[in-house]
């Protein structure tokens, strides 16, 4: 009887599969937890079933021909997807890193690759829509090229497409009475569209990641999941395997002693001392951040004097321009060491706690540095009497990015290569260096923030950063494989990846959007250069275009949308009320489902 039951279940399965579309059917067969033999049998049965039903329904020859073409289409699609795989660059390098060092270190490289695709996308958009039309009406460049411009970004580069100042404000027409290309609108719409697309991509990636990694975490992050899900099947290196096993045993031992120990009750005096120590270290770290900001601010004021005074193209003034970026990078490189030392001093109860606090302090430092630089650019450079303030800001950002790139390479050299030599020959107790994932990812986010701010002022900056990121990838990979050992601390990869994406979105991207918003809406573009010269603000280009469109009848709907929807604050208010209502409803549904789960749980146990 049970043979018959199994047979009829299989018949049902075959019938179900036959009724699905081709791609769904293939996915369902691939997902079946059965041996290859069984899957092949079922597949052949399904194909026979489909042929039979086609026999019955359509004309014989037509059905067979259709099936033949369907098969050849699928083969074509498969080979196309193989070529698409080639586009996924660095696949092999990422696999090697994952095999030797595990998924936690791999997450840094995947994040780097993800940021790289953002930059490539931005470069392609800017190049095709803004730079290429500019090439058609380029003015000749009278300045001379000395090699120093690669470092300072000034001099020869000032009159090239690298900076905002070079772009024309005219409407480009190559053929008389032919189609025209309005540079002002192109510039503002290209940059705007890029930011909107970035916003959507970041929002959806973050939501997807959050959904997968944070839901229902609280009740089941016990040792069961730690034990059974902790083994990283990606690792294939013998040393890494041994290390991972040692990790797991150490962690299990720690867990067991924690359970036995319960909470250590501190006396009142000890608790007070601990609170005082925590407060002192927080005050000192915040104080360091404020001091760093003040230093950067005064240096940049000095910097501005150099420009407003005039262009002395001698070595001294060129070198003086580099002081600000070097100081900023030095602060970013060395203050985190101070923070880690503070973290050691405080003796937190769990090492995870210490990692989070150190990362939080680093984030505060980096946000303050970027914040003070933005304040300086928006409030001081923009209102100074320099000739072309946007180009000045673009040059500042270029120098910051370049010096940061050089410091990254140097940091890899000193932090990993020399440290390994010291650790293996002079001071063997130190051992091999470990790859510091948190600091490196924060560095990436810092650079990406600068790039996003700089897109408006230097459209080709993402292209430069693409090259920089590629070089950084190879250098870090080689340095990692040659010098580092696999990580010892347990690093909750999925949670940290989500947090990094959240950090990229919330302080970084939203901050950039506010700075760009202030620049476009409030600041007056310079009179003598750039696509928006003479206008009261960059946004005025759009409002003037709408005014022109008003006299053009076929586009009245655009004008109507603009005046009644986009400029009216009431519209956005009305839009936000249903959004809030939907969010509240979803929240209530989730609460209801949680209670249902608890009740079902009780039922299963009893």
């Amino acid at each position: 009887i049970w043979i018959f039951h199994g047979f009829s279940a299989e018949q049902d399965l075959v019938g179900n599969l036959a009724s699905m579309s081709t791609s769904e059917r293939i996915k369902a067969i691939q997902k079946m937890p059965a041996t290859m033999k069984k899957k092949r049998e079922i597949r052949n049965k399904v194909l026979k079933e489909i042929k039979k039903s086609r026999h019955h329904s359509a004309r014989l020859s037509c059905g067979q021909r259709l099936q033949g073409t369907a098969v050849s289409f699928r083969r074509f699609g498969n080979s196309l997807s193989e070529y698409f795989h080639l586009l996924q660059f660095w696949h092999r390098a990422l696999k090697i890193i994952g095999a030797k060092f595990g998924t936690s270190v791999l997450s840094y490289f995947i994040f780097l690759k993800w940021l790289l695709t953002f930059n490539i996308f931005s470069f392609l958009i800017n190049f095709s829509f803004i730079t290429v039309p500019q090439f058609l009406v380029a003015e000749p460049n009278n300045l001379s090229f000395t090699g120093l411009e690669l470092f300072t970004g000034a001099g020869y580069f000032q009159q090239t497409v690298l900076y905002y100042g070079f772009y024309t404000n005219a409407t480009i027409t190559k053929i008389k009475n032919g189609p025209s290309y309005n540079m002002q609108l192109a510039y503002i719409f290209t940059v705007g569209l890029y930011f909107v697309i970035c916003f959507l991509i970041l929002l959806f990636s973050m939501a997807k990641s959050f959904c997968r990694n944070f839901i229902n975490l609280q009740s089941y992050a016990g040792s069961a999941s730690k034990l059974l899900c902790a083994w990283d099947f990606n690792i294939t290196n013998e040393k890494a395997v041994k290390l991972k096993q040692k990790n797991l045993s150490t962690q299990i031992k720690e867990d067991l002693t924690e359970v036995n120990r319960e909470v250590v009750n501190f006396s009142v005096k000890e608790r007070a001392v601990r609170i005082v120590i925590h407060l002192a270290s927080w005050i000192s770290s915040l104080g360091t951040a404020v001091a760093a900001c003040a230093g950067v601010y005064f240096l940049s004021l000095n910097n501005l004097k150099l420009f407003v005074k005039g262009h002395k193209n001698d070595l001294e003034s060129q070198a003086a321009m580099l002081v600000l970026p070097i100081v900023a990078s030095l602060l970013n490189a060395f203050v985190p060491f101070f923070y880690s030392w503070l973290g050691h001093l405080e003796r937190y109860q769990t090492p995870g706690h210490q990692v989070y606090v150190t990362i939080a302090r680093n984030i505060i430092l980096k946000i303050s540095i970027v914040g003070i630089l933005c304040y300086y650019w928006v409030n001081i450079v923009a209102t100074s009497q320099s000739q072309c303030w946007e180009t000045l800001v673009g040059q500042d950002i270029y120098r910051l990015v370049l010096v940061n790139f050089l410091f990254c390479l140097l940091g890899s050299f000193f932090g990993e290569f020399l440290r390994r030599i010291i650790g293996t020959t002079f001071c063997v107790s130190l051992g091999l260096p470990k790859f510091d994932i948190g600091r490196n990812v924060l560095d990436l986010i810092y650079v990406q923030t600068l790039i996003w701010i700089g897109i408006l002022f230097s459209p080709l900056l993402p292209g430069i950063q693409t090259i920089a990121f590629s070089i950084v990838f190879y250098v870090k990979k080689v340095s990692l494989i040659m010098n580092c050992q696999p990580p010892r601390k347990v690093w909750k990869t999925a949670q940290m990846t989500t947090s990094f994406m959240f950090l990229l979105f919330f302080p970084s991207f939203v901050g950039v959007l506010s700075v760009i918003g202030v620049t476009v809406w409030r600041l007056k573009p310079s009179e003598g250069c750039g696509p928006f010269r003479g206008l009261p603000s960059m946004y005025a280009a759009v409002s003037e275009w709408i005014k022109i469109l008003e006299n053009h009848t076929p586009s009245k709907w655009v004008v109507w949308i603009y005046y009644n929807l986009i400029t009216r604050a009431l519209f956005f208010f009305i839009l936000s009320v249903p959004a809030l209502i939907i969010a509240y409803l979803y929240w209530k549904i989730i609460q209801g489902r949680k209670t249902t789960i608890k009740l079902l749980h009780k039922q299963i146990i009893n």
């Binding site: 691939q30 937890p33 080979s79 975490l217 899900c229 083994w231 395997v241 096993q245 045993s249």
Partner: protein, 180 residues
């Protein structure tokens, strides 16, 4: 589109592509890896479906598996005879499930079978003890192993029968985002 390969018939390749997560090129590459383990045993012509099985010792010596503490269980789970000796079908199946394109539920199903040492469709306490020892290279004392196994069963056993069934295991995996 037509690579002049004579190892498989086009229908065989289509069937492999439908049943695994691999593309044509990857299937051929895996075939060559399989053949490199024992060139004298594996023929270059699979159109007549020869019944060739490679012993476990050769499979376990592959660089991807040789340092994995669970390699024997992996080979046993995926092999047809349950002893670790694999045909080409089993070989492709194993790498298909272990690849990054396989969905998590499929991996969870096979992970359950890997951890189930006595093949009784339940992870009981002795299975867990063997798992813990393999994961920690016998560094824990027997009392510690005992404590850990009891804790795991206490936390993950939903239907309270003293051992983990497939549903308990899958229930736990869904909540662990770090599972690979």
């Amino acid at each position: 589109m037509g690579n002049k390969q004579t190892i498989f018939t086009p229908e065989q390749l289509d069937a492999y592509q439908d049943c695994t997560f691999f593309t044509r090129k990857e299937i051929l590459r895996l075939f060559y890896r399989y053949r490199d383990l024992a060139p004298q045993l594996v023929p270059l012509d699979y159109t007549r479906k020869p019944a060739v099985t490679l012993p476990y010792e050769l499979i376990g010596s592959m660089p991807e598996l040789k340092d994995n503490p669970f390699r024997q269980r992996i080979a046993e789970v995926f092999s047809e005879d349950g002893d670790g000796n694999m045909t080409l079908d089993d070989f492709l199946d194993m790498f298909s499930v272990l690849s990054e394109m396989a969905p998590r539920d499929l991996k969870a199903y096979y992970a359950f079978k890997i951890y189930d040492f006595n093949n009784d469709d339940y992870i009981c306490k002795s299975d867990l003890e063997k798992t813990v020892n393999k994961l920690t290279r016998n560094e824990l004392t027997p009392e510690e192993v005992n404590l850990v196994c009891e804790k795991v069963i206490y936390e993950a056993d939903v239907d309270n029968d003293g051992k983990l069934s497939l549903e308990d295991f899958q229930h736990m995996i869904i909540r662990a985002p770090d599972f690979l």
